[in-house]
Amino acid sequence: MTSIADLPAVERLPYDIARIRRDFPILKREVASGAHLVYLDNAATSQRPVQVLAEITRFYRDHNANIHRAVHTLSVEATELYEQARSKVARFIGAADPREIIFTRNTTESINLVAHAWARKFLKPGDEVVVSEIEHHSNIVPWQMLRDERGITLKYIPMLPDGTLDLDAAQSIITERTRLVSITAMSNALGTIVPLDVITARAKAVGALVLVDGAQSVPHMPVDVQALGVDFLAFSGHKMLAPFGIGVLWGRLPLLDSMDPFMGGGDMISTVSMERSTWADVPAKFEAGTPNVGDAVALGAAVDYLTALGMDEVRRHEREITDYALRRLADVPGVTIFGVPDADRRGGVISFELEGVHPHDIGQVLDTRGVAIRTGHHCAQPVMLALNVPATARASFYIYNTTAEVDALASGLEEVARFFGVK
């Protein structure tokens, strides 16, 4: 295992948006109408830079082999690359030890892993798990399934009308019976940044663990698990320049050690006999079967790319774009923006409606102008229910987006209004 200290340092690059955009050839694409792509669906998935794509090809063309301590050259190289990627991810989120990084498919699997390997082992009927009303379905459904199977109680911190959490209510909802608070760092539907410090302080005061759904925070802002003082962090590679199919669960080492495995199979065992098996140490214990070596290595490259930009700069850039977009969209007649109107308290995600036009139609018309946004419930139906809308339109930004693209969105919305005869 490559130690974090042995990793090569990543050289910091200036935040040059023109250079960044050149790394993403898909941004030069045209859609059917001939319009240029304006990709504003980054909360769903990011685009991938050539550096990451080159890493995938390089891995398969030069080093591809299964890992697991084989003796031949390719396998030794593949193993080294895989473990180096683990260390890069550990460094990226400030983990103390690379063994705290479990490679999964995505955020969803990371959360399900905790629901199975930790919660099903340690929780008893009557124990409480607390989530919030603004969670992604991935941080609701696994706990509902656990509730229905094991009789735990599932509670929600409510959302206020402005899309933030009711922190006063949180104080009384998190009780001595709470064993886990599983909470998003940033809402993918509204962009709300959750004050993790407040939630974590209360959780720690009652002795509960904290799982952070970092699907929208790790790609977009500096995250340091030790500074956060939480216990688990889940996130997805595909939202942070890496390929689909690779995600991460970070957990504190003693905690991971105390857990049972999730899936059984090759590589997660120490010994197997027909009668019984014993488990490997973490992280292998949680990585049953052949892992996604290629995409893990590519995640390492993605993390290097972001590190070179600097996550503080990534956040600064997105805050600027968001601030601009909040003001620009508010000027479009008929547009209502959901959530806090303050770029300091939200990430680069803007959900909105246009009076008299269904989100699906907004998205369709924008698409003919090359502007890619998402419409629907964004896997956050409780938020839609609370806002009393069937769906919203959502624009979301990343490192390569520009204010010119925000303008394209805004003028597109003006065209939508005209087209549908909105007065």
Partner: protein, 155 residues
């Protein structure tokens, strides 16, 4: 603009007309059968009420919310169905689905407005919207009514 052609292909004027002024929407009728339809990922919802007398659709009403395509298509569906026998109406449902699949408007009586939806076939994601009202009608006419969804789980 380059994109206008494509857009107007999908949103023909007659469609927007049905969207803005839906026919048989929330009509006061005495239904003999009904069904609900939903397109969960889009949020489209349609309810279809039918007054079936001696095998003939004497009156029909739809209600619900959703995108222009789903609402306009449901509106057109009610105009088509009204006054026809259940068998004829089901034949229309069939013809509509076929049009969505092939992208070719059928040359059948009563499909003049409806044929304007042929452009939807080019937009995979919208076919479900357009089909919702029709599927719900078929469900209402089928024994027992009930709920349909155009979400076949296939993403």
């Amino acid at each position: 603009m380059a994109e206008s052609g494509l857009l107007e292909d999908l949103y023909r004027e007659i469609i927007l007309d049905h969207y803005r002024q839906p026919r048989n929407r929330n009509a006061a009728i005495e239904p003999t059968c009904s069904a609900d339809g939903a397109n969960p990922l889009c949020g489209d919802q349609v309810r279809v009420d039918v007054a079936l007398v001696d095998g003939v659709i004497e009156a029909i009403s739809f209600s619900g919310q959703g995108c222009s395509i789903s609402q306009a298509s449901a509106s057109m569906m009610t105009e088509y169905a009204k006054g026809r026998t259940a068998a004829e109406a089901l034949h229309g449902v069939e013809a509509f689905q076929q049009m969505m699949l092939t992208g070719v408007a059928p040359d059948i009586e009563g499909f003049d407005d409806i044929a304007s939806l042929v452009g939807v076939a080019k937009f995979a994601a919208r076919v479900k919207c357009a089909s919702l009202g029709w599927k719900t009608l078929a469900q209402a006419l089928a024994e027992g009514g009930g709920t349909v969804t155009t979400d076949d789980g296939s993403r």
